[in-house]
């Protein structure tokens, strides 16, 4: 089949799902921001930010946590952890964009599907911007375990620097970012 493999691999069977990504530079294709070098896209002049939600829940308990987001927070990846994580699944969590009144999942997502496991992270193929003024994210967490559970959910994203008047502008109250003259 023309175009399926480079010539050196044309008789090598491959998983059809592998064709979802180009065979070259596939690591750069994992999330859209990786297209540029540096891969800043519209997030130039933003800073990395981890918004952390830590809850201690009783057995089967649930809670809702509302987080005020800094300006122009753009969600890029989710990581999570739980002190108790058995075959019951640890916990479920669901995210809402409060300002846009959108839910980011149909229902609560199991820990392993929300953020991988063993300290993994799930990167969004397309970052989600909380770009409305005074945006909030609502996190609803339910402990699936029959024991008390400490649950950490970290939302990794980019925010506009708080001392930056607008993208492309210098840091307030002025002066270049460093003293090296660029």
């Amino acid at each position: 089949m023309p175009g399926m493999h480079p010539f050196s691999l044309r008789f090598t069977p491959t998983n059809p799902l592998a064709r979802m990504l180009p065979i070259q530079r596939e690591q750069m294709q994992v999330y859209r921001l990786g297209e540029k070098n540096p891969p800043s896209a519209d997030l130039r002049d933003h800073a990395p930010m981890w918004e952390v939600v830590t809850v201690k829940l009783n057995a089967r308990g649930s809670t809702r946590v509302r987080v005020n987001l800094q300006r122009d927070f753009t969600l890029i990846a989710i990581t999570a952890g739980a002190s108790v994580n058995t075959a019951l699944g640890g916990f479920r969590a669901q995210l809402y964009d409060m300002k846009k009144q959108l839910r980011l999942a149909d229902r609560g997502v199991m820990f392993a599907n929300l953020a991988g496991s063993a300290g993994g992270a799930v990167f969004l193929r397309e970052p989600w911007p909380f770009d409305e003024p005074d945006s909030q994210v609502l996190v609803i967490v339910q402990n699936m375990e029959a024991a008390a559970n400490t649950i950490d959910i970290a939302l990794y994203g980019q925010v506009l620097r708080f001392n930056q008047p607008a993208p492309g502008k210098q840091e307030f109250p002025g002066g270049v970012v460093s003293n090296l003259g660029w």
Binding site: G3, H46, R161
Partner: protein, 164 residues
């Protein structure tokens, strides 16, 4: 579309997304470089402060976080001295049972590092020359916790302008 109607022709560089004109060349030479922070965090320390400073010779483009630790019962906060910026924060409205916010669990911050890779910043961040950063560790393991954090990225050397 290729002859099979299956989208791009794989392996053909001409079909790959190309860097934008803006991103193709920003006039910097990049030198791979890592800033390393080693610390034995005392048992049950709360926000144990540790500083590192970017060298004065070049700004630094931060791309990856790598970490090793004795126990995962360790939280970390990161602050930028010149601006007071917190990289790790919470404004959670209701956080049951946690009186003080001591940061992110180190396995979540550099989690993939502990799975033999590096946590990639999707957008690299410039740490300006001479600027200091503070890492605050909180241990709940009850024993000394040997930590190494590695900030991996590139020194940015401005390329001399042609004709200047």
């Amino acid at each position: 579309m290729n002859a099979n109607g299956m989208g791009v022709i794989y392996g053909d560089p001409a079909q790959m997304p190309q860097p934008s004109a803006q991103g193709a060349d920003d006039q910097f030479e990049r030198q791979f470089f890592s800033y390393v922070l080693d610390r034995v965090v005392p048992a049950n320390a709360v926000q144990d402060p540790n500083q590192f400073q970017i060298l004065s010779d070049a700004d630094y483009e931060w791309w990856w976080i790598l970490a090793s630790r004795t126990s995962n019962l360790l939280k970390v906060l990161m602050k930028e001295a010149a601006t007071g910026r917190d990289f790790i924060g919470t404004t959670a409205s209701a956080v049951a049972g946690t009186a003080t916010f001591n940061g992110i669990n180190i396995d979540l911050w550099a989690g993939t590092a502990l799975a033999t890779a590096a946590f990639p910043l999707a957008v690299p961040y410039i740490l300006p020359a001479n600027r200091s950063y503070t890492l605050l560790f909180t241990d709940t393991s009850g024993a000394p916790n040997t930590v190494e954090l590695v900030f991996s990225g590139f020194k940015l050397w401005p390329r001399p302008k042609v004709g200047s």
